[in-house]
């Protein structure tokens, strides 16, 4: 079964329990009204509302060299470019699993490197996860067990609006099924870095909130010091941090030792890039140090535009994460070479896939550009082939992974599918490459 409980409201249809595939948090209680092509969000966070809303404009047609073309013509032109290219770069990869499967099929047939536009944070985290590992928890575990949440960096609600509502609800009433089932209803949340936003303070009212305020460039040092304190070192006298942060971290270490299930969270995508991997490592280290006597886990935030799904699919198909070159029967994983920006330096074709939002394609002038993209995408340079595609969860169904890598969610189409899905567009290209989908 899937979402889409609907009721008629005049000419508009109300659709409840819509699943959202945009930021990675995977909220599935969104409400919209749909009338013909028009989608109007009724209950959604600001980002989801903006990305779900649709007007009555008829879908644009594909274009080849700027001129309108049929899907078949555009697919044939795209295939011709792919056949001629020797070093194709697939970027964006903002697609549901169905679209990604077909894109990876193209990469296998035509040869290409693959990377996702939101993989920066993922790779900072993989620096720890793939090399050393960690102990993590999924959203529902945090929601029900976490009695002490430590947040590194900026208030994550800026990127994941409903994060605190989802993972740190305040129990209303006693008994029943209401979360948290295993944590006190007043829990402790500590920000290390920026302060809580006013909105977050409101959501978290009822919990005990504290802040260790630091400039962004000191967050990684604070995370390392916290791990040191948990390792038993005296950090009270260390004065590399502003103000009394050292002493506050030492106190936090004591609270963590006494906590029953503490959780460390960070958004690697918004931390200073050089520091994100260090924060992931220190947070994981802190969990390792706590685990002999109590329970603790990390909750790395991320997952925009199904980057988690792109990562998972690459692992099960090729045995490697993203930033891998596929083709001629092999897969070569070299993150330094195949991150989009690096790959484009040596690339001779760019295929940009972005079905969730009108993100611009990366700058590229050394060869043809194929865009399988949101119809509202504006281009600095007209792509050689542009196939406007529908958005999973708006125009057609699909599957996306939630940020915790465990839960895979079914998206539902909300309005009549007039645009091809990215999977359909990619299948049409594949057929021109001599491979049925």
């Amino acid at each position: 079964m899937s979402s889409g409980e609907t009721t008629e409201a005049g000419a508009a249809r109300i659709v409840r329990d819509v699943v959202c595939g945009f930021c990675g948090l995977g909220c599935d209680d969104i409400e919209v009204s749909v009338a013909g092509r028009v989608v109007t969000p009724r209950k959604a966070c600001a980002d989801a509302a903006r990305l779900l809303a649709r007007g009555d404009a008829p879908p644009p047609s594909p274009r080849v060299n700027g001129a309108p073309a049929s899907l078949a013509e555009a697919a044939s032109a795209a295939a011709a470019h792919l056949k001629a290219a020797r070093s194709s770069v697939f970027s964006g990869l903002g697609a549901d699993l169905e679209g990604l499967r077909r894109l990876y099929d193209i990469a296998m047939v035509a040869g290409a490197s693959i990377d996702h536009s939101a993989s920066g944070g993922l790779f900072a985290n993989l620096d720890r996860l793939a090399r050393r590992g960690w102990i993590a928890a999924t959203l529902a575990e945090v929601r029900n067990r976490c009695d002490l949440l430590v947040v590194f960096g900026d208030d994550p609600a800026a990127s994941f609006h409903r994060l605190f509502e989802r993972i740190m609800p305040v129990r209303t009433g006693e008994g029943g099924d209401a979360a948290p089932l295993f944590a006190p209803s007043g829990r402790r949340v500590v920000m290390i870095g920026a302060p809580f936003s006013d909105a977050s303070r409101k959501v978290l009212a009822g919990h005990e909130l504290s802040e260790i305020l630091l400039p962004p460039e000191q967050v990684a040092t604070a995370a390392a010091l916290l791990a040191s304190a948990l390792a038993g070192r005296d950090i009270g006298a260390v004065d590399v941090l502003s103000g009394t942060a050292g002493a506050s971290l030492a106190e936090l270490a004591d609270l963590l030792r006494a906590a029953r299930y503490s959780v460390f969270t960070w958004n690697a995508a918004t931390l200073p890039q050089a520091d994100a991997a260090a924060v992931a490592s220190s947070a994981s280290e802190a969990v390792d140090l706590l685990s002999p006597t109590t329970r603790a886990a990390v909750l790395p935030l991320g997952g925009r535009d199904n980057v988690t799904g792109a990562h998972q699919l690459a692992l099960w198909r090729f045995g490697y994460p993203l930033r891998t070159a596929i083709g001629a029967g092999t897969a070569r994983h070299a993150p330094d070479l195949y991150a989009t920006a690096a790959a484009l330096k040596d690339g001779d074709l760019l295929l940009h896939a972005s079905a969730f939002r009108p993100d611009p394609a990366p700058e590229f002038s050394a060869g043809p550009v194929i865009a399988l993209a949101h119809p509202d995408t504006s281009f600095a340079r007209e792509p050689d082939v542009f196939i406007p595609v529908g958005t999973p969860g708006v125009d057609h169904p699909g599957h996306v992974f939630r940020m915790d890598s465990v839960v895979c969610l079914p998206l539902q189409g909300l309005r009549p599918a007039e645009l091809p899905s990215l999977a359909e567009a990619a299948s049409a290209i594949l057929a021109n490459l001599g491979r049925g989908a």
Partner: protein, 549 residues
């Protein structure tokens, strides 16, 4: 097109046919009664071959989140074992945690046509199914992990009746499109979330104060009353702990008459005798299995070399993480359902413990008398990669070969095993039972594991050779649903598999109850947790296994 497989020695123990030269006739994906000569048919020459049904592995971790975490940790293994070039290359590879395409091809190349993922965590079931759909040439199914899920433990702790439990189990099986229930360390994974570090069979766990015995019995009753063909598939308490043989024997005695399958029993057959306080409990376990017809086991043989262990049993994996090799590991508490722990291991024949584990597995295979109640597994990849099955088969069939390998292992381990004194060699008939007929029977797959009329036309021709490892590694021909997919051990075609599930009915009131649970406790809509039939294999839907009356 009708196919006639002719001139081969047929081993079809489910139909009482042992080593008879006879024809097997295939049509429209099924085996049919021999209509006699005439009509147009393609003749497949099986002379010099033995003819078996397609192999069935009922316990192999091939898909889902923990396997993907294994792939992430095993990048060197992946690089060492790329898929071979050619028309059927999937750009993947790996041996300990192979990619989906490589998994299907390697199984198919050994003559296997069905493989079951034995640890699907409910919250991750959709992922597991998407991955299984990407595995060519084999049919699949998943066993749902229950017994540590908070909803169930609450039901039991609140004293709800068996009917409510049954409704919940039925609901979960259908929601996750699974075909059996697996219990991993009953109550133990949940206890670890409350910082419990051990949980023995009759010890009450934290919070719910339930014993593993009670959880086990409750779920045994549920699957029996629902008519799920496969009994509870149990990964018991105290995995890997010296002395756990006592717990395992107690567990076998705790079944209240219900059938029980104990999985990877090798890891649960350890004593504490000798100067190293680690000894084989295989004889006691085998004796108990021999005496209890309601017990079946799979072995979980360990094979020397690099692998990765992937288990829902985070309590045990946390205990083991310090011996990770290479030194990295991943743990995860999962969504009020279960957990997972992924720890790379390198089993060495020069290690006393590993060598004795190897011997214990073989002792179990050889001392358990009834081949219908012991299935051939390495608990892939936990005991070793499934690609080692041909080697394992030779160890079972060839006493001099076994003794040769026994002489290579750690000296002290040799003196701790009675393996050398066991003269039994598996026969071809017994191999056909432990890799085909018996797993099909316990899973309730009436049209698999045999070559009688109506069976799926999964037929394998192995050239009879004295080197049983070479023989089982490279079948002359493998047919899947009647189509030739492997010739002389090489892939010649790719086909799509199917997914098995059971759909026992549940009271609609359980829908309401779970709606509230998912809304309030989990924070996800129950409607989005449930996997629709149309989501299985891109719209193909599941193949429903018939319930027992």
């Amino acid at each position: 097109m009708r196919k006639r497989v002719t001139g081969g020695r047929v081993f079809d123990p489910a139909n009482g046919i042992i080593d008879q030269v006879r024809d097997v006739v295939l049509e429209d994906g099924r085996i049919i009664a021999d209509p006699g000569p005439g009509g147009s048919e393609e003749v497949v020459n099986a002379s010099g071959c033995i003819v078996l049904a397609g192999g069935i592995d009922l316990h192999s971790h091939i898909a889902g989140g923990k396997v993907n975490l294994g792939r992430l940790l095993m990048n060197e293994d992946r690089a060492l074992f790329p898929e071979p070039f050619g028309d059927f290359c999937g750009c993947g590879g790996g041996r300990a945690a192979p990619t989906t395409h490589a998994t299907g091809c390697r199984y198919s190349q050994m003559g296997y046509t069905a493989v079951f993922e034995p640890a699907v965590v409910g919250a991750n079931a959709r992922h597991a199914h998407l991955e299984m759909a990407d595995i060519p040439n084999i049919d699949t199914g998943g066993f749902l992990v229950l017994g540590n899920d908070d909803f169930l433990l609450r039901l039991i702790a609140m004293g709800e009746g068996q009917q409510a439990i049954n409704d919940y189990v039925a609901w979960m099986l259908k929601a996750t499109q699974s075909c059996a229930i697996k219990i991993v360390n009953p109550g133990g994974i949940n206890a670890f979330k409350f910082n419990g570090r051990n949980l023995d069979l009759d010890e009450a766990g934290p919070f719910y104060e339930l014993t593993p015995r009670r959880i086990l019995n409750t779920l045994q009753r549920a699957v029996t009353e629902l008519g799920v063909p496969h009994p509870i598939h149990l990964h018991g308490c105290n995995l890997g702990i010296p002395g756990n043989v006592k717990t395992t024997l107690a567990t076998m005695g705790a079944t209240e008459g219900f059938p029980l399958h104990l999985t990877h029993i090798q890891f649960h057959s350890y004593g504490t005798e000798g100067d190293r306080h680690f000894s084989s409990g295989a004889a006691e376990i085998a004796e108990a299995v021999n005496a209890m017809p309601h017990i079946s086991v799979d072995v979980g043989q360990i094979m020397f070399g690099q692998t990765v262990t992937a288990s829902a049993d985070l309590m045990s994996q946390y205990r083991n993480h310090s011996i990770a090799d290479p030194k990295k590991w991943i743990g995860m508490d999962i969504e009020m359902d279960a957990a997972c722990g992924v720890v790379p291991f390198n089993y060495r024949d020069t290690s006393f413990v590993n060598a004795l584990q190897w011997a214990i597995g073989l002792e179990l295979f050889l001392l358990i008398e009834d081949p219908w109640r012991v299935y051939l597994t390495t608990d892939h990849p936990n005991g070793g990669p499934f690609t080692s099955y041909p080697h394992l088969i030779r160890l079972l069939m060839d006493k001099p070969f076994r003794d040769h390998h026994l002489r290579q292992i750690h000296k002290a381990a040799r003196s701790h095993t009675r393996l050398e004194s066991i003269s039994r060699e598996y026969t071809l008939e017994e191999i056909a039972v432990v890799t085909r007929a018996a797993p099909a029977r316990t899973l309730g797959l009436k049209d698999r594991g045999h070559l009688g009329p109506g069976a799926r036309a999964d037929v394998v021709l192995y050239e009879d050779q004295p080197d049983r490892e070479a023989m089982f590694a490279h079948p002359r021909i493998v047919m899947k649903d009647g189509e030739v997919v492997v010739v002389n051990g090489e892939i010649v075609a790719l086909t799509e598999g199917r997914t098995y599930a059971v759909h026992p009915p549940s009271d609609p009131l359980m829908d309401k109850r779970l709606e509230r649970w998912f809304d309030e406790a989990v924070g996800l809509k129950s409607s989005h947790y449930q996997i629709a039939d149309g989501e299985i294999r891109g719209g193909q839907g599941p193949e429903i296994v018939e319930l027992k009356p």
